[in-house]
Amino acid sequence: MARDPVELAGARPGPPFEITFDGRAVAALPGQSVAAALWAAGILAWRTTRVGGRPRGAFCGIGQCYDCLATVNGTPNRRACLVPASPGDTITTQEGHGHAGLGV
């Protein structure tokens, strides 16, 4: 039995790079989505809901449910399960509709 998925797939990715999640450094592998990088770091929630303020993260994993919306480099409502992680990305927990800065 493989110890982890990377071993199972015989993956030899390039060196990991760093992104940040709410200011904390997170290592991402080249080719991973933002959501995958966060899961790999044990982070399952990066959004709070508009009504109840409850934590959410990736659910459907294929871009259909929009539960994984995150603020990526200042832009809210990005689907973390689809957006590839890039070196230096700044991911922040999206609160509500993500447009609080607009005062709407």
Partner: protein, 531 residues
């Protein structure tokens, strides 16, 4: 592709690269390193009018069905545009890591990888124009019996350059997404779709936890549990709401599909090897944990999926992967007025003629859009559609009377029969709504509880999804009811099986106003002819 260097508001007609330059997308070329100018010339892709190239065939979806249809048509001489939201072909079934992850054994995560590898080889050898990162939001009929496929671009559709691809024929191979039924705690982080967990594993090589319970209903659960276990997760239980005995009522469909039994045996052996216990006629009826999953309660169900009081079993885990079968993704076809039918497990699928054409002439479909049936069926239906489109456009009617077509039709009938048995065996029982608490969120996007929906039904007289939506906002959020639609339909119709929903979503994916504003003047086309 340096999209930002171009006028973001310029509509792009059928982005065509010079052949061999690799796919064109909103993400940047995947292969080939020459700059790809979205407004550049297209070589030999059929007639070019004032609005860019016109392809013989536009294929929406590069999974098993779309890829198979595209290579079949291209090999018969048709010019083909193949659009997909992803940067890679393979769809959901053959979802695989991005090249940068350097996976040398992607097949370790898949059943029958060689079938995909062969399709991909044929696609790479063809002159198909691959358009990646294209999220198709509408297909409309234009003047001159042409179809216009409209897409937004980019990894998640955030790209500013919309794409329009025009073609004489259309193949919709948009696949399926997972059906979800809510239960107390299902919005807690760590609860993920079963297909979602598998998708994240296949593409990102990650797991949502170390101890993952797999629950819901349908054959996908066994495949998901087997791959999670193979990837190093502990799977304390697979929880299946139905039993497997219903398959035994259809010995002929089973005997005619030995490959399906073989596939099940592979998953079964894998589960045995990892000591995974399968609990049938059971469901997760509660999830425990404050900010993430810490445990689940699994209850016994009766034949109608009513949970039996006092049978709850506490299982510790740090994630739950859940799903209740698949729903055909048919918005684009429904938007064109294609006829739909109700499947054995209560979803809506497209009505198709023996040659895979929908009720709207000129629009073909293949794979899960015509009813969920699996990857092999999708490949064969894609081939049939490719042959049928080529026969129509080139007048070579011998293509659809060939021995190959007869063989494909026989195999399709056999596999569709098995798919019907499978769908019936895992159709949700009417009793599942009993496991909902009044404060269980049903609509995840708008946070609408079961209590509010019941109030709308019992107190305000709502009897269908649309009325419930108008009264409560259930289904009005980002996902447009994809996650809660099945549940709301059951709650609205009471104990009766809900009527099929038309899956009418005028925009199949969210579109920015700037993308809409950049479209040129709409040209009214004739209404599609019904049959």
């Amino acid at each position: 592709m340096p999209a930002s260097e171009s006028d973001p508001h310029a509509p792009v007609d059928g982005l065509g690269p010079v052949r061999g330059d690799g796919p064109v997308d909103g993400l940047g070329p995947v292969r080939g390193d020459g700059p790809v100018d979205g407004l550049g010339p297209v070589c030999g892709d059929g007639p070019v009018d004032g609005h860019g190239p016109v392809y013989d065939l536009a294929v929406v979806g590069a999974g098993c069905a779309g890829l198979s249809g595209a290579v079949t048509a291209a090999e018969l001489g048709l010019s083909v545009a193949l659009l997909d939201a992803s940067a890679q072909t393979g769809g959901q079934y053959y979802r695989h890591p991005a090249p940068a992850l350097g996976a040398v054994r992607p097949e370790a995560l898949h059943h029958d990888w060689s079938a995909f590898a062969e399709l991909r080889r044929r696609q790479e050898a063809s002159d198909i124009t691959r358009l990646t990162g294209c999220h198709v939001w509408a297909v409309i009929r234009e003047d001159g019996d042409l179809w216009a496929v409209h897409a937004v671009t980019g990894a998640d559709g955030d790209g500013e350059r919309p794409v329009r691809v025009r073609a004489r024929a259309l193949l919709l191979a948009t696949g399926a997404y997972e059906r979800q039924l809510p239960f107390p705690g299902w919005t807690l982080p760590g609860v993920v779709g079963a297909g979602g967990a598998q998708a994240m594993l296949k593409s990102g090589l990650v797991l949502p936890g170390r101890r993952i319970v797999v629950a819901g209903s349908g054959p996908l659960l066994l495949a998901v549990a087997a791959s999670l276990a193979a990837a190093g997760a502990r799977v304390p239980a697979v929880v299946e709401a139905s039993g497997y005995l219903r398959y035994a009522r259809h010995p002929r469909a089973l005997a005619a599909n030995p490959q399906k039994l073989a596939e099940a045996a592979v998953h079964g052996a894998e589960l045995l090897r990892h000591g995974v216990r399968v609990r049938t006629r059971s469901a997760v009826t509660a999830v425990h944990g404050r900010d993430r999953v810490e445990a689940v309660t699994v209850s016994r169900l009766d034949r109608e999926w009513r949970p039996a009081q006092g049978t709850g079993r506490h299982i510790e885990c740090d994630a739950l992967a859940v799903g209740f079968g698949l729903v055909p993704q048919i918005e684009l076809a429904a938007g064109l007025g294609c006829a739909v039918r109700r499947t054995a497990d209560g979803t809506s699928a497209l009505v198709l003629d023996p040659l895979q054409e929908t009720s709207v002439p000129g629009v073909w479909a293949a794979g899960e859009t015509g009813g969920v049936g699996g990857a092999q069926l999708a490949r064969e239906e894609g081939e049939m559609a490719g042959l049928a489109v080529a026969a129509r456009l080139t007048g070579r009617s011998a293509l659809v009377r060939s021995g190959r077509m007869r063989e494909l039709r026989r195999r399709r009938a056999r596999m569709r029969a098995f798919a019907d048995v499978m769908a019936a065996a895992h159709a949700p029982g009417v009793g599942w709504t009993r496991w909902l608490a009044d404060d269980t969120d049903v609509c995840r996007c708008e946070e609408v509880t079961a209590g509010r929906i019941r109030e709308g039904v019992a107190g305000l007289g709502a009897r269908d999804v649309r009325s419930v939506k108008l009264l409560t906002r259930a289904g009005m959020g980002w996902c447009q009811g994809r996650m809660c639609g099945a549940a709301v339909a059951c709650l609205a119709s009471g104990a009766e099986a809900p009527p099929p929903s038309a899956e009418r979503r005028p925009l199949a994916v969210p579109v920015t106003l700037s993308a809409l504003a950049s479209l040129d003047e709409p040209r009214a086309g004739p209404e599609p002819r019904g049959r």
